[in-house]
Structures are given as C-alpha cells and as structure tokens.
C-alpha cells in the first residue's frame, strides 16, 4: 500500500519575491560580504538648506525631494534663472543658492563633487521612507550608495544608479505640510512641470528604479520612452546616448519666455503646439545647461 501522504511530494517551482525585497536583500548580502562602496561616486550637491519640510519636497516615496543644478558660474546661473523664471535665492554655496519657492525646491551650485571632480547639470534627490533600507536596495540593484548621513533636514545618502547616474536619497525629518493642490506639473511660473530622465539602457533603469523607489512604468510616446507612474513632478524615462536629467520649466507666457532666453544670452527652440500645451525644446542657458519650457493651460 502506498502512503497517501506521498501526494504532498511534488516539485517546487521558483517564485520571484517582490523586486524591492530582492534588491534590499542583495544589498544586505553585499554589505555582509564587506564589499566596499565605490569611492568614485560621491556626488556633492547643493545642500538642501531648509529644515522645515514642505510640500515642495515631495509627498511619497519616489517623489523628487530636491534638485541640485550644477552650473560653472553659479552666481551667473542664479541671475539667469532669476531673470527668466522669477526664482529668488537664499544664500548658498559658491555663489549659487537655493530657490525656496520653486516646486520641487532647487539649488544652484558649482557642480563640485566630494572627490573634487565636477558634475554639471541636474542631480536629483528622491524621497524615501527608510533611507537605510533604500541604500541596501540601491546596492542590491547594482548601484552605489554612501552610508546615510545626518543632515539638518533629515538623512541623506549620495548614490549612483546601476548605470552610473548620480542621485541622492532623502529621508526627511517631517511629513510635508498640507497642500491640497496638484503639483504634478508645478503650479506657478518657474516651477518644474516635467522631468525627463535620460539613461543609456532603458530596461536596466526600469529594473533599478522599480526596485529602489517602487516606480512603475507605462509606455511612453516612443518605444524608447516610458512614463513614470504616480511621481511628483510628472516624469518620464528615455533611452539616450547622452544620459542625464532634463527639466521642463513651467512659464506663464512661452513666447515672452523664449524671447527672454535670447536676451539673457541663451538659446531656445521654436514654440510648438502639443496636446498638453505649448512647448519649446532644445533650450540652453548662457552657460550650456539644457532645459525645456512649457506653457500649460491654466
């Protein structure tokens, strides 16, 4: 007679755990094996100066908490963006400063990294609920992350993704202040209305940011593009040979803004009509930083 309980014996099948868990555990394993962090990647951004966390610093995990804009001459950069977008600055490092009233908050600095090298352009900070767990996910997903450091505004880790793109993680001290407005495309002239994250390989970026920040993606307007779901401000991912972050600034009157770019020593592409509003692509400031302008229906 066969034992009826033999029916319990059947082959096991592999089951994938959640990507976040998989990345976090991989990070713990990397730590446990004493893998040293990559000393090359220690971006130093324009330090967030506020200690009172605002709605401008994101609400949920994965939202943009802060933007560091590295410009060769920060004082000149502050003058350019102040004149174009109405940003006003609190004093900051190396002649730049923090534009407190912009959503998300943005700081201009000279792009000098902790190791002395210079990274120009945008480095984003992302809000996370638990920065210790998030750094483990970064390392587990193939990126690098410094051990979290206490800052006046919370806890911060300087990171690079699995393709070398620098960013920060911020676990902020306070919950954001109440704001019932929709900030997905900014609200005022000078706010960030859209963020485009350019990466060398789309699939690698989807896997990395999905595991680390919980982002999910829907198809974008081109096969090499993805819309990032539920992130503030509204953001997209696209594959490119020149990786980096491209910001689209919201303006009240795009024709006036395009003319102003020229007056200030920059260049701007032609104004085009899009389903969502009027856009000027291929804008460059007077020191070579690219950006876009968007005029959205009020």
């Amino acid at each position: 007679m066969t034992d009826p309980l033999e029916i319990l014996h059947s082959p096991d099948r592999p089951i994938d755990p959640s990507p976040g868990f998989a990345a976090e555990l991989r990070g713990r394993l990397v730590d446990a094996l004493e893998t040293p962090p990559d000393p090359q990647i220690t971006p130093k951004g324009a330090a967030m100066r506020t200690t009172a966390v605002q709605f401008r610093n994101g609400h949920r995990q994965g939202d943009i908490s802060y933007i560091s804009l590295g410009i060769p001459d920060p004082a000149r950069g502050a003058a350019f963006y102040g004149a174009l977008l109405g940003w006003s600055f609190a004093p900051g490092d190396a002649g730049g400063g923090q534009a407190d009233e912009v959503t998300p908050q943005i700081g201009i600095f000279d792009g000098t990294r902790a190791d002395g090298s210079v990274t120009l352009g945008v480095v984003l900070g992302y809000r996370v609920d638990d920065v210790d767990a998030a750094t483990l996910r970064v390392r587990g997903a193939g990126g690098t992350a410094t051990d979290p450091q206490d800052r006046p505004y919370g806890i911060e880790s300087a990171c690079a993704d699995n393709q070398g793109l620098p960013f920060y993680l911020h676990q902020l001290l306070d919950a954001p202040t109440d704001d019932d407005g929709d900030l997905s495309n900014g609200r005022r002239h000078g706010d960030i209305s859209y963020m485009s994250l350019g990466v060398p390989v789309l699939a690698l970026a989807e896997a990395f940011y999905g595991a680390v920040l919980g982002w999910s993606f829907t198809p974008g307007s081109s096969p090499q593009g993805r819309q990032i779901e539920g992130v503030t401000p509204m953001s997209g991912l696209f594959q490119t040979d020149t990786p980096g972050v491209l910001l689209a600034y919201r303006v009240d009157d795009i024709h006036t803004a395009v003319a102003r770019v020229g007056e200030l020593g920059g260049t701007a592409g032609p104004v085009e009509e899009r389903p969502y509003g009027l856009a000027a692509d291929n804008c460059v400031d007077d020191q070579g930083t690219a950006f876009q302008l968007l005029q959205l229906p009020v």
């Binding site: 033999e6 059947s10 555990l25 394993l29 094996l33 004493e34």
Partner: protein
C-alpha cells in the same frame, strides 16, 4: 555589478555567492513560501538563509556554491522557524506509554490541493515532520537529522503527525 575590482580582503567566494543569489533567489523563496504559506515569513527566512550563506563565506569555509546547498540552508532556517513557533504555542506535553504509536492503516487517495491546505493547518511540530518527510522527500533518518531528534523520537513524531493529519483531513472533508 563589476566585482573585478574587489580588494583581497573580500572573501574569494563572495562574488560567487552574489551570482548564486541572482540565480537562486526564486528557488529559495519558492521553496520557503510553499512551506510556510506566508510571504512575510518566507521573506524573513529567505533573508536568514542568504545571510547565513554570507556568514559561511565570510568565515572562509570553502563550500560548493549550489542551489541544493542553499536549499539545505533554507531547510535549517525553516526548522528553526517551526521550533520558534512550537515554543510560542507549546501548552501541553503528554506523557505516553507508547500505545498511541500503533498506526491504523489509512487507505485513501488524497486530493492534492486539500492535502496541502490541511498540512498548513497542523501544529508546527507536526507540520515540520510531515513537510520534511513528504514535501522534501527526506528519509526518516534524514528527517531526524534535520529536526535534530533521535531516530526513535522522529518515528514517534511522524506517527503522531500522520494521525493528526488524518483527523484534520477527515474533518475538512466532513466540514464541506
């Protein structure tokens, strides 16, 4: 991740373990989830498994890095888990004269899905014994080794576990 630049202080099998992790995580998680049916517990035990594997590597113990080895580590973690559960739930230990160890033959063909569900409803010590013996397909001496019990104690435990299982199975049928 390029592991080629790791300094000499990193254990030589570290990169091998990370590669095994990438390959074997679904196998380990799948093994554990089927046996504890609770994703958070399966995640905890998966973490314990790989961190134990890392400790082995860090201690310089040369091991053949294979998925069956990982499953073996996972099995130890599962037994520890049941042992913890058993401690938490322990209320009464019966002193027996051994007469209960006589088994009635049970001639029945079990329904596979019900069979698994009933197993999950048993107490941790019975679940542990039957899972190792039947799901994992271990022999009675191997089950005894995994449970760190004597062969005699394991045989007795299996008899009791089968009886508890049979009662639970028949009860589940009559409840329908």
């Amino acid at each position: 991740m390029d592991m080629s630049g790791l300094p000499a202080v990193v254990p030589s099998q570290g990169p091998e373990l990370l590669a095994l992790y990438d390959r074997g995580l679904p196998e380990v998680y799948g093994y554990l989830l089927r046996r504890c049916s609770d994703p958070p517990t399966a995640e905890d035990l998966t973490s314990e498994t790989f961190l134990a594997a890392a400790a082995v590597v860090r201690n310089g113990v040369q091991t053949e890095m294979t998925i069956p080895w990982l499953i073996g580590v996972a099995r130890h973690k599962l037994v520890d888990h049941w042992r913890r559960q058993e401690r938490q739930q322990r209320t009464l230990v019966l002193i027996t004269d051994g007469s209960e160890l006589v088994e009635d033959p049970w001639e029945v063909e079990l329904d596979a899905i019900r069979a698994q569900t009933v197993l999950e409803e048993l107490g941790p010590h019975h679940q542990a014994a039957l899972t190792l013996r039947y799901l994992d397909g271990l022999s009675v001496p191997e089950t005894a080794a995994a449970l760190q019990r004597t062969l005699h104690a394991t045989e007795a435990l299996l008899v009791r576990a089968r009886r508890a299982y049979r009662h639970a199975y028949e009860r589940s049928e009559s409840d329908d």
